[in-house]
Symmetry: C2
Subunit: 352 residues, 2 copies
DNA sequence: GACGGGTATTGGAACGATCAAAATGTAGCG
DNA sequence: CGCTACATTTTGATCGTTCCAATACCCGTC
């Protein structure tokens, strides 16, 4: 069915081939490709026919080299397998694709070494900008050194360590972690909870610190005590959270509610609670963070904070694209106000 | 802290800059960069120092242009937000990164039009190959036309419509859908189930057809009847599955078990069952397909078929890389034998 | 002191596109 | 007929890298 009048040379078709094929210069073909009004209608038709006939595909790399521009954006994520980031990536790709950019993907798996390697490798492809959700413990100096000053960086989700935030030469898109955790904690307090734990995450990560700070803020404002053993660390995934569940109950007084670092942790904790015969949403209140798809569908459905990752992805892309337009403007910090979504997993304490 | 002895010109550093900086030719610098044994130790040291001093970054696009090779692979997925594909993408990126390739990402959101657009756009960046999990209803002729004969294609997860499979000039990596669904159905039958529905997915998709065929095969082999209203279609996501749950019980005889198109559907169905007061894993048996992370953590945990998407991603990358090495070899079809994972959601029928 | 044989280095032409400037052709007009 | 005005097309240099052939140099030998 394909129009294969041309024998299959094992070489790629270039402008020169088209030019030769319909007896014009390379420049004219180039003008046709870019829809310039300078070319004669008849010529354009002839050239377009020849393009189709030979099955020409544009070589954007060559064009970009000459024009000294770039049409790709690097997207580097600490954990693509996490649905939150998968949604985010989808949003980024949507928005970038719409603007004619291509997404160079890199996943670091929370490894700083891989982050460096991936950034270095992607930068060799000369992206117009970088969207980075850094690995835990990633350092500003390191990142700045490999990215350089020329390529705009948009930082998502986490701050980088080691350098004062104020003079960082990049834009940021963050979630309002502190306020979110405060809202969740206040919600539990309003339900009558008094012994509330903060569960999950690593104390080293900036988002975890912020969420914990929000929790502390709400507890203090309500005049409630905070026991040291109500702070349990664990890796931000279900499996580790389920495993660490027991730690909540080693010492008295045991908590009757937990503000969790994120949804993955909250879902894992609920599983752990079930395994000990404790019913989340009835005997023990749980809140999450992120509002991933399964939060609404767990049993009980999870009270959490919605950050709308796909929309954040689009937003990140738009922020970066705007930055490309005005490279000199001051670095900008955007904070998205997460929203509390109340569902069945939060409940009053069991009648003592 | 950065070694900024060079004033910040607003131009990128090139080979020529380095060459000028330490008084050698561009060719020599190029040799140093590629670790050629031809250059003198002393010269090499001088050049390397200068590279560091000026903060040179390699321009792979320019090099690829000259060498007429490519160092990127396009990865086009029908639904990146689905954890199954997110895991797959992670695996692909892992393996490609390890082999020095960069991943060009594209997500189509199950739209054929977007698939065409995305493929076209990515191809302009001249990838060495393409890994494609096609959108539902995507047509072989169309895809072949935009990809052309030159760029190797690895098809994942779904077949393309419209062209005979046998003469398709691309490799494929598929899951053994039919056998998987047969295993699940046989498992339910062995538990004593007799009225088993096939729930979810679109009848148009090849994977759905294959899974349904496996179900039919097992039912027929056991001599069990299949009622037409035991085949419920729905979009392959939780929300639609939960909404369609009721359709299972419109007509008698109602099923007491369901083989679901995939895990997302199974989890949605379980939610729908709960909402009608039916307890999955006790009153009604459910099986899924994919073994996504949350399958093990739902309540009850989901009996399903493990396909290990991250490993499949690595495998897909390896298959494509091997193909790049030997472009002339015959197209290859690889089928991964999924494994049945028995968990709590499958149970005998309630004692009639 | 011309010659052979390493070792190290280099100039200049590619790769496939774009851009600026120059070159065509074609009419109109005094 | 010569001149400008306009529309269309072409020439040749260029982007940053690699390849190829050529060269420069050093050392030892006849």
């Amino acid at each position: 069915m394909a129009t294969d009048s041309t024998p299959h040379a094992n070489r790629k078709i270039t402008l020169a081939d088209i030019a030769a094929g319909c007896d014009v210069s390379r420049a004219t073909v180039s003008l046709v490709l870019r829809g310039s009004p300078l070319v004669n209608k008849l010529t354009r038709a002839r050239v377009e026919e020849e393009l189709r006939r030979q099955g020409y595909v544009y070589n954007r790399a060559a064009a970009n080299l000459r024009r000294r521009i770039s049409s790709s954006i690097a997207l580097v994520l600490n954990d693509l397998a996490n649905p939150f980031f998968a949604e985010f990536a989808t949003g980024v790709d949507e928005a970038l694709g719409g603007a004619g950019y291509v997404t160079l993907l890199g996943s670091t798996g929370e490894s700083i070494a891989r982050e460096q390697a991936v950034l270095g490798s992607l930068l060799e492809h000369d992206p117009a900008g970088v969207i980075l959700s850094p690995a835990e413990g990633s350092d500003a100096g390191q990142v700045l050194k490999t990215i350089g000053m020329r390529t705009p960086l948009l930082l998502f989700n986490r701050e980088l360590g080691g350098k004062a935030s104020s003079d960082a030469p990049w834009d940021r898109l963050m979630l309002d972690n502190q306020r979110g955790a405060r809202l969740a904690t206040e919600h539990l307090i309003a339900l009558g909870q008094r012994r509330i734990a903060f569960f999950g995450g690593h104390a080293g990560s900036s988002s975890c610190q912020q969420r914990h700070a929000g929790y502390v803020e709400a507890m203090k404002a309500a005049g409630l005590p905070i026991e040291p053993h109500w702070r349990i660390e664990c890796a931000p995934n279900r499996v580790d959270a389920a495993a660490q569940c027991g730690a909540l109950f080693f010492d008295a007084p045991a908590p009757t509610a937990a503000v969790c670092y994120n949804d993955a942790v909250a879902l894992g904790l609920m599983l752990g609670l079930y395994q000990r015969g404790i019913r989340p949403g009835r005997d023990f209140a749980v809140t999450g963070f992120d509002d991933i798809a399964e939060a609404a569908l767990s049993a009980p459905p999870l009270t959490t904070l919605a950050s709308m990752p796909r929309a954040r992805g689009r937003q990140a892309a738009e922020l970066l694209l705007r930055r490309l337009g005005e490279p000199q403007a001051d670095p900008q910090r955007t904070v998205f106000p997460v929203q509390l979504v109340v569902r069945g997993s939060s409940c009053p304490p069991p009648a003592a």
